[in-house]
């Protein structure tokens, strides 16, 4: 029932992928620690400096990560046109969105290559799409499930036999 679909990669000039990591800023410091009472003040200063460095480099890294993510948007249609309210979630996560009346969506979170988006819509076959390096725009066509609709009602009217008289 689930289909694993990898869309052809579209070359895009808007690709925000930035593979270079910025070098963490270097700081001058003494090594190893000097715990002599006289020097303890200096060591404390060093420790503060180290803490700042760690924090700074951490936030730099985080920034790089956001830059690295892929911002995904696209449309979901069936054979007749756009589908409203198609549910799109990242597999294994709780992040998700749904399509608007034009069938369009923008995924709320930047994604990494190999992340999988799951498209579900009641009555349609679920589709899974794996994000690649160059994915930015996804145009997904969902296929309606091949079932026939039937209907029989529950009633508690007593049975009445057909009488010819």
């Amino acid at each position: 029932m689930k289909k694993q679909v990898t869309l052809p990669q579209k070359p895009s000039s808007k690709n925000k992928l930035d593979t270079k990591r910025k070098n963490t800023p270097k700081t001058n410091y003494h090594w190893p620690f000097d715990l002599e009472p006289k020097r303890i003040k200096k060591s404390f200063g060093f420790a503060v400096l180290l803490l700042i460095t760690v924090l700074a480099s951490h936030s730099t890294l985080a920034q790089v990560k956001v830059n690295q993510g892929l911002s995904i948007s696209g449309t979901v249609t069936d054979n007749e046109g756009p589908l409203l309210g198609v549910n799109i979630i990242q597999k294994g996560a709780e992040v998700g969105t749904s399509t608007d009346s034009k069938g369009q969506f923008t995924f709320p979170k930047a994604l990494q290559p190999n992340d999988v988006l799951v498209f579900t819509y009641l009555g349609y076959e679920t589709q899974e799409i794996t994000i690649t390096n160059n994915t930015t725009q996804l145009d997904v066509v969902l296929v309606i499930d091949s079932i026939a609709i039937r209907g029989a009602l529950e009633v508690d009217t007593p049975y009445k036999s057909k009488r010819t008289e």
Binding site: M1, G85, N87, I89, E94, G96, S98, V118, T120, L122, G123, Y124, I144, D145, I147, A148, I149, R150, G151, A152, L153, E154, V155, D156, T157, P158, Y159, K160, S161, R163, E165
Partner: protein, 337 residues
């Protein structure tokens, strides 16, 4: 060695009987309250709804119960959609091309109505149960087939008219009918009212087969002496309340019976729970009026209920069996002199 044999026999015996009784040690309170807690949840995010309903439950049967209960207590039967279905189904029954074209269109209407209004007809119920169950990693199938009620015209029953579910729990398949479990259509006003019937949850396959016949016979879940389609068409009419009172319906086997005057007719059932024999009644209709009587004899041995009745006048009679106020089943008897 003997002990092993005994264990095997016990296993086999419990297998052949057990359905909901397989899980008699499980309390569904938690599952039912979860279904209640998410009342009126949206159908726009099914993976999330399934997760909400099941992630705090340990066993598969409880997970399935929460999903099934949610669907049965939140989805209404859509009578206008049903009428549309009936009309087109009749019109296109001999034209599969036209039928398929109409179905493609109709399917979209059905699913749109289900998401937006929480209303559907049986395939919608069964489909939703199946979809939510899949998101909870439960093996659940949609079964198409023939469903029969007191108002079904069996002469028109030449294509499947109903859908229900089969679910695999602890490596064994079980049957349930979320549509019929959810509630009833008022016979006069045609308004739907929620009225959950627990009897259709993991129902006894033998009883289920009296008014459900799957298009694929494997879903009868009956290996020994499975009924044929003709058996199904000739079977008595049973009602929703049969499922809350009976484990088996044994006799009469047919809806229409011919008997001689003063011949004794026997009705045999296996009950789910012991009852007060005094509450068993027969309502006999001769085409003009109803007469409520006690059977000539009512015998209850453990859970085996046997009723006997003797017709003293010729004619055609519709006989309804009631336990308390619960209408269980109907048969017709043509009494000849």
């Amino acid at each position: 060695m003997n002990r092993i044999k005994l264990v095997f026999i016990l296993l086999f015996v419990s297998q052949s009987y057990a359905q909901i009784s397989d899980f008699k040690d499980i309390d569904f309170k938690k599952a039912d309250s979860l279904a209640m807690a998410y009342k009126e949840a949206e159908l726009t995010n099914l993976p999330l709804l399934s997760k909400k309903l099941t992630s705090n439950l340990k066993t598969d049967v409880e997970k399935f119960r929460a999903i099934y209960m949610w669907v049965c207590t939140n989805i209404e039967n859509d009578f206008s959609l049903y009428l549309k279905y009936e009309r087109k189904n009749k019109r296109f029954q001999n034209d599969s091309l036209e039928f398929n074209l109409w179905q493609t269109d109709f399917k979209k209407t059905v699913f749109k109505t289900l998401v937006e209004d929480h209303k559907t007809i049986c395939t919608g119920y069964a489909y939703l149960v199946k979809t939510l169950a899949h998101w909870a990693n439960l093996e659940c199938e949609l079964v198409h087939g023939y469903g029969r009620t007191s108002t079904t015209d069996i002469d028109q029953l030449n294509a499947p008219n109903h859908s229900w579910n089969a679910v695999k729990l602890n490596n064994k398949w079980y049957l349930c009918d979320p549509t019929w479990a959810s509630g009833k259509q008022n016979a006069e006003t045609f308004r739907f009212s929620f009225q959950y019937n627990d009897g259709y949850f993991l129902a006894e396959p033998k009883l289920f087969a009296v008014n459900h016949f799957p298009a694929d016979a494997k879903w009868l879940l009956l290996d020994e002496n499975p009924p044929t389609f003709a058996d199904f068409l000739n079977a008595p009419v049973i009602y929703g309340k049969a499922y809350t009172n009976l484990k088996r319906h044994n006799a009469p086997q047919f809806l229409n019976n011919t008997v001689k005057k003063h011949e004794t007719v026997t009705f045999e059932y296996e009950l789910l729970n012991a009852i007060n024999c005094e509450t068993v009644k027969l309502v006999i209709n001769n085409g003009r009026n109803n007469k409520t009587i006690r059977p000539n004899s009512t015998t209850l041995t453990n859970t085996a209920l046997v009723l006997e009745h003797e017709f003293t006048t010729t004619g055609l009679y519709d006989v309804h069996v009631l336990i308390g106020d619960d209408l269980i089943s109907t048969y017709t008897f043509e009494v000849k002199g």
